[in-house]
Amino acid sequence: MNFDALIDCFSASACVVTQISSGLIIGMLIFMVASGVTLIFGVLGVVNFAHGALYMLGAYFALTAYWVTDSFTVAVLAGAIGTGLFGVVFERLFISRVYGADVLSQLLVCYAFVLILDDAVKAIWGGDFLSMGMPEAFALPPLMIAGGFVPPFYAFLTAFAVASAIALAALLGLTRFGKIVRAAAVNRQMVGVLGINTSLVYALIFGLGAALAGAAGALAAPVRSATPGMGFDILIESFIVTVIGGMGSIAGAFVGAILIGMIRAFGTVGFPLATEGVTFAMMAVVLLVKPAGLFGKAGR
């Protein structure tokens, strides 16, 4: 423990800016994954334990697209769309069979897919770690803000995630599709009786959640090395975020992700060996005080 360092950091704007920015970046990637988890749980009632594997797929799709086209834009699109399409197929063929089943069956189907996908990635791309490298467009010196440093790529990444969050909120809150989705989350049968193909809605939602994870994987590819099993950590983190924010709440996932990011960023300064424990402790506290999460509605 080194609380002096923490206090020092808080008294220097450079440190605060830098650590806040790093907390945001960490949080934003987790948010991209967690928003899919929370969306899928909120609408489909499924805890998608395979979501980390989708993040991994996104990274590998992006890497491959980047090697082929040398364009980061194409890579991100490939990561998001490729993973989204995979998600739709996965939902139709497998997840749709465990709707309404107990959480245990859902867990097993997802776990089976984690095993299969990790292995498939190893078979296709090999077991070595792969790195995309920073695209030319972002190979710029970091921006200086109030004495703190913010790399342009991270600024882009944060903007991308925030834009995703806003787009997601707009899609769910303002469009007819979003209204249908929220209605289906409450009463799927009634939505179907009104002439809406709920299977399609479910597949699209799962695909959307998968695409978000895929985009996160693609965005992570320039700065994190891709390996089979890379989805493991972020899955756990996005679960923590989802639980803290409230299962089913996009806003909750956003706030939860920033919270976890900040704990990590400032925890490294003040209590480097305990940050992980602190995040779990926080999840426990939230569950005990407000089981539905900070933004969750009780009784769902």
Binding site: R176, K179, R182, A183, V186, Q189, G192, V193, L194, G195
Partner: protein, 236 residues
């Protein structure tokens, strides 16, 4: 006139137990048919089976002479069958207007007879509450909303499951008037009821269901004078 909706020899099971036994029903275009029966006689199950929510294990369902047996609920809805379930089932956290918009789709002929404006003309009470959360409405208002929401889908046939249940007499009257209006609009109606008097007020013909079987079919006039049937199958 041809049958708008026809059900032939329909058996429905919940799990291992059979609920409906060889149901035959026919609803002519433009008619208002009442399905009368006591609690638990099988009225709701019949509706659910037609709507595709509880698919029949045997028998057939025809909509305008086209076989729609076993279709998913949304495809049945798109064939022009609007279903208003008995327990209302509004989307409680959506506004009245959003509830209506979710139900909106063109009819089988591609036309939109029911716009928001027309709905608000026919249901003035909903107009004044268009921004309110549906879960905050009273029971009668919710009933109005469910019917209106189904109308937004421009159905050819509307299945109304006990629309008067549990509502104050004044609201029941409003609903009866509404049904009369719909009939004038040319909407074919299949109505499930326990309340015979309500049916007499609105229906053109009647079928009585008991223990999962149709036990009587006839016009409203005949039923009015058949005390035996009324005593045996209806809580009169």
């Amino acid at each position: 006139m041809s049958d708008e909706l026809r059900v032939q020899g329909m058996d429905v099971y919940y799990g291992a137990s059979q609920i409906l036994f060889g149901i035959d029903l026919a609803v002519e275009r433009g008619a208002t048919v009442a399905l009368l029966g006591r609690n638990g006689a099988g009225k709701s199950t019949t509706f659910k089976a037609i709507a595709g929510v509880a698919p029949p294990r045997a028998g057939r369902v025809f909509m305008r002479e086209q076989d729609i047996t076993g279709f998913a609920p949304y495809r049945i809805a798109r064939r022009g069958i609007g279903y208003v379930p008995e327990d209302r089932q509004v989307f409680p956290e959506h506004s009245v207007e959003d509830n209506l918009r979710i139900g909106a789709k063109p009819g089988t002929d591609g036309a939109v007879h029911w716009t928001l404006e027309r709905i608000f003309e026919v249901f003035p009470i909903l107009s004044s509450m268009r921004g309110r959360m549906a879960g905050r409405l009273s029971g009668g208002e919710q009933q109005m909303l469910t019917i209106a929401r189904t109308l937004m889908g421009n159905p050819d046939v509307i299945l109304l499951d006990e629309p008067s249940e549990g509502l104050a007499p004044i609201i029941v009257q409003q609903i009866a008037r509404l049904i009369a209006t719909l009939r004038k609009e040319g909407v074919t109606i299949l109505l499930a009821e326990q309340n015979m008097h309500f049916c007499i007020a609105v229906a053109t013909s009647v079928a009585i269901i008991d223990k999962g079987q149709i036990v009587y079919r006839g016009s409203i006039e005949e039923l009015k004078h058949n005390d035996d049937i009324k005593r045996r199958y209806l809580a009169v």
